[in-house]
Point group: C2
Chain length 186, copies 2
């Protein structure tokens, strides 16, 4: 039995930090209001010490039923999940849970702007991959299809997210191109 200070760090933390920083920049610039949802926790036992804050003494991590991030951009609902892989040649579908896919399908059917931010840490590349392009891969894996999306597919069908100084994962730039392109630009 190992007890240790929490360190979510190993898996995807850097991406999460980059996205949180980007969201703070978007907020400060009044570009978009996007927040990470708190980690869902099942609270079992709480102590209420006198004259100090309540202490949660027993709780468990719950599987998220939705995605990591949501918010509003230009009045539209934005919803996305962030995932990192160390793989070089493909993105494993095991990174997603059935619940998350179902949630993404639901919000898509209600007109959301929904996508995945995928980082290939070995390539130091971060992609914007639309949820609608993920769903067929997810379904085909149960029909004998492969259990991962090839890196080439993500390069071709996804969008490389530029890494900027103040917006390390500048995904609004991609949303603009996909959803708000003005006639002049087309």
């Amino acid at each position: 039995r190992l007890s240790q200070p929490i360190d979510f760090g190993n898996r995807g933390m850097t991406l999460e930090e980059d996205i949180n920083e980007t969201n703070e920049y978007y907020l400060a610039q009044q570009k978009a209001i996007i927040h990470k949802k708190p980690t869902p926790v099942q609270i079992v036992q709480v102590d209420y010490p006198k004259r100090s804050a309540a202490v949660i003494k027993e709780a468990y991590f719950k599987q998220a039923s939705t995605t990591d991030y949501n918010g509003v951009y230009r009045g539209k609902y934005v919803d996305f999940e962030a995932k990192v892989t160390k793989n070089k040649t493909s993105f494993p579908l095991s990174n997603f849970h059935e619940h998350q896919i179902a949630h993404m399908e639901h919000v898509c059917s209600h007109g959301a702007i929904c996508f995945v931010i995928m980082r290939f840490s070995a390539h130091n590349q971060t992609f914007f991959f639309e949820a609608e392009k993920l769903f067929p891969w997810w379904k085909r894996q149960y029909d004998g299809g492969r259990k991962s999306i090839p890196y080439e597919v993500i390069c071709e069908e996804g969008f490389l997210i530029p890494m900027k100084y103040q917006a390390k994962v500048d995904y609004l730039h991609i949303i603009d191109q996909l959803h708000f392109r003005t006639e002049e630009e087309e």
Copy 2:
């Protein structure tokens, strides 16, 4: 020092249950996708027992920086806070935190559908009160204004939410009237 199983029950729990049930109904009917955000918790210490789930041994409640609920309806971003008062004659502004008001102002400025669901438990009445109508009351309290919104104002400027069998807090009905009224109905 008192240790006890968690029971969020006393304050606003019934309203939360009613809204969660309503949201499940909306989801099942594919009317809207609205979720409650998890309670934000600052995790300090986690145990990793062999062969069983990680146990959070020390954590603290954090003040929410946003509102309780958000999601998508007809492609639009929806964001709201739910609050209960036992007061009969007014709704105390102390129910809100500065952070929540700031968040509501931010999302409003980005075109969100943003409101408060206020329950007067003594009257057994639940109101839909638009965020834009809350802001002036919030500001005036720091200019010597009153620290609560009179019940009559909420009756007049808010909308009584019908309590239906399957949608106990049927707030989409009000959103339809306010934001999606068809020309025929006008």
